[in-house]
Every structure is written in structure tokens, then in C-alpha cells.
Symmetry: C2
Subunit: 442 residues, 2 copies
């Protein structure tokens, strides 16, 4: 086999990077569980029917078929491209066995057959939280979900020095009510055009809006709305000053004000009302969220989501929900790839038990077992080379301690060697397990 | 959307079952890390070229292609059907950045497009450990790997009452040397026929062996060899008593004796020499392992593996290894599905903070945050219903404690209600997190 080369868009980590990923995932799961979210995993595949329901997505789906399927058999299965479609299906399939509001988190890979580029992969890891009700879901969950997400991201910042974030929030009812109040016939069409603001600029957006029948004054008001941004409730007055009125607009303003007011009290500076946020997918019906990692804005949003009032329905019952998804690969692949985040060592091993000779292996195994029984990761030297070679092996592996049959343990970084009992010796807390370190260069 | 139905062969768990799976995976990872194995994950897809290299496997591969790929484009990617092929590719791809012997564990799903049946799924979770050397790998690792695997499985038995296991071990050199010593021209052909012993019985195997040129006496000796089984080294004398001689046979006997001798001392009764074990895949070259879960033998082997001397090679360097794979889905899907193993509650939540009225939500959130800061999973009641209804909500979710704004906490199982301070109150240790319970019926 010639040496294989990586597949573009399918990131993989070396063991050191994987340790960073493990710590980050454990931290996210810990925050989610502290807030009462239960873990689920769904199968990697969904039926093509459920994957292609939302028209714009189908071009990115990876179809899955057996190698020996009939050549003209219909494609029945595809890899999921997010965790929301599988979750909606899981809720419908198991509705009778779940208690609502149902709170779940889900940390899994997803796949999209799109062209790999910065921040976009063909295989990527997502960490999602959602709360789903039966027929109704209270508005306070629109406040709760971004707070849990920000707490999870803040913990990554505090514990692992992942860069800090800022979440931008808007409300679909607010925008749609505003457009309807202006007399726009198709508020979704306006929303989609305003969504291009960052890409094509205000003049081009105004032209697009006039193209779907808005007056120049109305188009300008849409642009004015999109420039409004505040960390407190002051956005409400600024919207009202534009002079547009509609009941949906009022409802959206009240809902967004509630989110911003609570967040300003609990996580000041981390959440802002930003009235140009639209989110492309069409199933959102209320609050929408996007999140920038400060200093890494070019990656795009590292955590997005929103309220959806009709994602799942079996005809008789609807399951409205609100959810947020953290793009774990989008955060970690660049930070680990550039060496900004790394593990303090690439192996779990804390102690290498050295061998005087191969006949001592059984005794060395017993020493190792004593250390492991107290939670100390230990391996026995792979061969009874000279001690210098065994120490170099530990050094190359990043193992900090070498244990000798004489009952002494050496810290190979300092060279300090002391007598020790395998039934009681403990390494310094910081050496027990590899931890995440941040490069001082970054 | 009509209510969806499960896809055959793609098992999914309800939240309670998922908690069992999480605890089991954490336990396995813990054992592996205590022994110095580093975690890696590989992408879900490999090139079709590397997946179809071993002829007999290709019929089970799931091919992956973009929905909008050219209709006659060649299939380039498939889902991995085990974790060994991806690991071999990972080792070759990253050889310059790994330290050998390289010890890794890998817990991931794999996919096979075969007909679902008891113990066989189309999507299944595996937990693999392997040690791989550069050009050479010492024989003592053939002893180490089954000991680590048995320790991991024993911990599942002890902590979660997963049924106990017994591992059967053989050695390919022993069998091949024996067949060569008998004058067989193609020892692999003999091995493949003897492998059918449990399915078709000794008379039919003897006939197959005569069909490839063995004398009736030689065929009988092959059957005699396959009946030898012992928990200690006595198998060596019984093989020698058959009167066959060959250098490979001697090497295999010595190697297997070393495995059995060490295991008999460290994990008595858990590992037996069983000379009929063959393992179908053709890349094993030395020790081979299979494992039965006692009382669940019909599931087949729940942990298998072996020594492979040439799985990975880039032409100049070979990477011999020895590995074992634990079939997590094969163990857990039946045990969770039948209710034998379950979680003590289906949610992480320990405390529900009740609400006097909706205006108290902000204060209730502050109480919840105090409890979470000390590791207690807490949620705030979704609505300010009458207390009876809020308590019923906790009960239906399986949440053991309800906290009242008066500063009292009620254990809803006993009804006991006591004054408590959110800055210092702790639940009983057993209630802090859901744990795995085994049904007394099973």
C-alpha cells in the first residue's frame, strides 16, 4: 500500500489533538447535563425522503447504497447533513415514550458533499441542544437555550482558553412584521435579500428589494432596520422610531427584548440584538441565533439555531422547538491544526515501569496494576533495553515518570528520583492526566 | 409527516438506554487509558480501493456518493465496515508523527450492508484496542491485549452486572504447523474447513478434508486437534501426544502457552486455549481471540481479534500489530432492548426548581445556577402550574427532588421535605447522577 494522503474535507486529529477534542466534548456534555439535557444518538442515515424535504439542501446529501444493490434500485438512504432532521424524526418515532418538554443534547458527526473551504468540511462534528414541546412550547425557552449555549462556550474559554464568543440574536416575527407593515407582499423574499447584506452591500440589496416591488423609501427602511444592533433593549426604541407598525412586529420586539434583557443581566456583553441576522434555512419561525468567535470571524457562525414551530408533526400533533447547534469541528479544526490548542502530552500514560530484564515483566505488570488501581495510567516498558533507552522511550512518548524495580520513581523532566511505594505514591495533580494547553504564540 | 418506523438493523436507544451506553463507553475508555492507550477517531469513509482489498468483504460495503455526482462517476468512497482497515490507513498516513509501539483505542460506529439478524446490525458500535510496532512487535503484547480486554469486560461485569465472559484463544502458527506436519499442502484450506466444525459437525468436516487430499487418518488428527481445550498449559502435552511435528507448531505452542500461563495466574477461568478457534479473516498470522458472553452464546463472539504481521505496509516498512475489538452494540442492544440493563432515571436532572408564578422565573434560575455550580443537574419548572402538577412533571421525568422558593426541598419518592440552602445542600451520592441498574427479573 503506498502511503495514503488525507481526504480533503475529512479532518482527522493526531492523538494530541484528539485529547483536546475529548476534553472539549466532555466539557460541553457536562454543561448540557447540568441543565437537564439528556443525551441521544441517532443512526448516521435517514431516508432520502426525509433528507430532501427541504428543497435547497438536497444537492449536499451523500447517498448511501450497498455495493451490490441492483444497479437501478432507487436511492433510499443518505447520511444526515445536520442533527435537527434526525432529531425531528426521532421525536415523532418515539413520541409516546418521551416526556415533553423534551430536552436533549446530541454530539455526532454530520456529512455534506459540498466543496471544502475554511470552516466547511464534508465530515464535521456538531453538538446540539434542543427543547421540544407537544403542541406548545413556552417563550422562556428562547431565553434559556442561548444562555446554556453561552455558558458551555464560556466554560471552554475559561478552562481551555478557546477564544471568547459573541452571540447575535434576531426574531423572524420582528423582521416579517416590519416588512408586512411596510406593505411587502412576500416577507420571506425580502428576508432572503436582506440576508445578502454582508456579501453584496446595501446598494445592491436596495436594488434587489426594488426588484420585488418595494418603493425606494421602503427599501431604505429595510436597510435601516438591518443596521440596528444593541447589547440592551435600546433597539426597541430605534425600531419604533422607524415608524412602521404591525402586530407581528410588536410580538417579535417583545420576544427579542426578553432574550436581550435576561442575557444582559446574566452574561453581559455576550449576546446582542442584531436585526440583520436572518439564517438561511426556512424552518425558523421566531428567534434566530448566530455566534462569532472573536478573532476568528472569517470562520462564520460557530453556533447557530432558532425557534421552529412546525419542524416535526405527525398530522395530529405538532412539536414546536427551539435549538442551538455548536460547530465543534469549525471551532477545533483550525485551533488544533495551527497548534493554538494542544494536549500537555499525546498519551494518557503517566508512568512507565522500566524492566531490568525480560524475566521481570510479570513483576513489573503487578507494579503497574497497583498504580492503575489508584487511577494512574501506567504501561510497562515494551523491551528490557538499557535504562537510558527506556527513559528515552518514555521521553519520546511524553510519559513524565519512570518507575524502577528498586522502588524508585524518576521525574524524567527534572531528573529527580525518589523512593516510592506503588501502593501509595501519587503524581502531582497536573501530571495525572494530559490537559489542554494553549500555545503562548497564539 | 406520518409517524416514521425504525429502520431494521440500525438500532437506536431511548434516553435511558443511551445513559447505559454512555456509562459503558466511559468505563471502557477508562480501562484503555489506564493502560496507556491513546484515543483516535478516523473519518467514517475510506476509499473503495482500501475497503475492497480483502476480497470477501466487498459485498457488505455501503458505497457513499454525492446525490448530484455524475451518473456514471466511479464510486470512490465507502463507509468503513470495521475499525482495523481505517486504523491501518491512519498508521501509514501518520507514521512519521507517531511513536512506536503505538497504542491506540478507537470507539466508533461501523457499517455493513448485510441482512440484520441476532447480534448483527447494519450500523454498530465497536471499541477497539491495538498495539502496532514498526518492523517488529514483541510477543508479550499478545498476552497484554487479551488481559486489557478481559479487565475492561470484567469491570463492566462488576460495575454494571453485564454478564461475565470467557475468552477462547488459539494460534494460527500452531494450527498451520500442525497441518504442515501432517503433510497438508494448503494449510489455509484446512483451517477454513475446520472453521466450519460448529456449523456442520465432525463427519462433514472430515469429508471436506479428504476432499482436499488429506488421508482419513490425517483428517481425524485435524479433528482431534480441534477438540483440545484447556484453562491451563495441559493442552501442550495433549497436542504433542498426537505425534505431529513441525517447527511452526512448536513456535505456536510456545506462544499460546505463554498467553494461557499468564492469564491463568492473573484472571483465572476467564481465558482458555481452544484449538478450534480460527477467525475467518485472512490477515491474522499468530494468536487469535474470540469471546463468549456467558448465557448469551447465541450472539456469537462479543470480542475478537488477533495478531497480524502485515496488515499495514508502505513497501519499505511493515507495521505488525495485535488487536482486539469489543462489539459494544452486540453486547448492549439485546441487554438494553430486553430491559435487563436500564438507567436509574432517564434524565440527568436531579432537582426541579418549582415556580410560585412566572414572575419568579429569574429568581428560580439563580437558585438553579447555585446548585449547578456544585455539580447538581438542575432545571427550572417549564410552567408555573399548581405545585401538584409541577411535582407530577418531576415524577414523570424521573427527577427525584423538587426545590421550593421557600427554601425547602422535597424528595418526591418519600415525600420528605426539609429546609435547605442552595449554596450547601447535597443530594445523596446515589441520586447525584443516573446510574445503571440491572432488572431483578433478568
Amino acid at each position: 500500500m503506498p502511503r495514503p494522503t488525507p481526504l480533503s474535507g475529512f479532518p482527522e486529529f493526531l492523538p494530541s489533538g484528539r485529547i483536546v477534542e475529548q476534553r472539549v466534548l466532555a466539557s460541553l456534555a457536562d454543561t448540557f447535563e447540568l441543565h437537564g439535557f439528556a443525551s441521544i444518538e441517532t443512526r448516521a442515515v435517514e431516508t432520502m425522503e426525509s433528507l430532501t424535504r427541504k428543497g435547497e439542501i438536497d444537492k449536499e446529501v451523500y447517498v448511501v447504497r450497498r455495493l451490490h444493490a441492483e444497479p437501478h434500485a432507487a436511492d433510499e438512504l443518505g447520511l444526515h447533513f445536520d442533527l435537527t432532521v434526525p432529531f425531528a424524526r426521532y421525536v415523532l418515532e418515539n413520541a409516546g415514550r418521551l416526556v415533553f418538554p423534551f430536552r436533549r443534547y446530541q454530539i455526532q458527526k454530520a456529512w455534506r458533499g459540498e466543496r471544502p473551504q475554511e470552516g466547511r468540511y464534508r465530515e464535521f462534528l456538531q453538538a446540539d441542544i434542543d427543547i421540544v414541546g407537544q403542541d406548545a412550547l413556552a417563550a422562556h425557552h428562547d431565553v434559556e437555550l442561548p444562555l446554556v449555549t453561552l455558558e458551555a462556550l464560556e466554560k471552554l474559554h475559561r478552562d481551555f482558553r478557546v477564544p471568547p464568543v459573541q452571540m447575535s440574536v434576531n426574531n423572524r416575527q420582528l423582521s416579517e412584521g416590519f416588512y408586512l407593515g411596510l406593505g411587502a407582499e412576500d416577507p420571506m423574499a425580502v428576508l432572503q435579500r436582506v440576508d445578502k447584506l454582508d456579501k453584496i452591500g446595501p446598494a445592491a440589496v436596495a436594488e434587489l428589494l426594488r426588484g420585488i416591488g418595494l418603493s425606494p423609501a421602503a427599501a431604505q427602511l429595510c436597510l435601516d432596520l438591518a443596521t440596528i444592533r444593541s447589547e440592551d433593549e435600546s433597539f426597541v426604541e430605534r425600531v419604533q422610531a422607524l415608524g412602521v407598525e404591525h402586530p407581528l412586529l410588536e410580538a417579535g420586539l417583545a420576544s427579542l427584548a426578553q432574550v436581550v434583557r435576561t442575557a444582559a443581566a446574566l452574561v453581559p456583553g455576550r449576546l446582542v440584538a442584531d436585526l440583520k441576522i436572518a439564517r438561511g434555512l426556512d424552518y425558523y419561525t421566531g428567534t434566530v441565533y448566530e455566534t462569532s468567535m472573536l478573532g476568528f470571524e472569517s470562520l462564520g457562525s460557530i453556533s447557530s439555531g432558532g425557534r421552529y414551530d412546525s419542524l416535526a408533526s405527525d398530522g395530529r400533533t405538532t412539536y414546536p422547538g427551539v435549538g442551538l447547534s455548536i460547530g465543534v469541528s469549525r471551532i477545533l479544526v483550525p485551533l488544533i491544526g495551527k497548534g493554538t490548542l494542544a494536549a500537555s502530552r499525546p498519551v494518557p500514560t503517566c508512568v512507565l515501569v522500566a524492566l531490568d530484564n525480560e524475566e521481570m515483566r510479570f513483576e513489573a505488570m503487578a507494579t503497574a496494576a497497583q498504580l492503575r488501581a489508584r487511577g494512574i495510567s501506567t504501561e510497562v516498558a515494551p523491551s528490557a533495553d538499557r535504562f537510558g533507552k527506556q527513559i528515552r522511550y518514555a521521553d519520546r512518548r511524553g510519559i513524565p515518570f519512570v518507575w524502577f524495580a528498586t522502588g524508585e520513581v524518576k521525574d524524567i523532566r527534572s531528573g529527580a528520583q525518589v523512593a516510592a511505594d506503588p501502593a501509595s505514591w501519587l503524581p502531582p495533580e497536573a501530571d495525572l492526566r494530559p490537559c489542554v494547553v494553549r500555545s503562548s504564540l497564539a
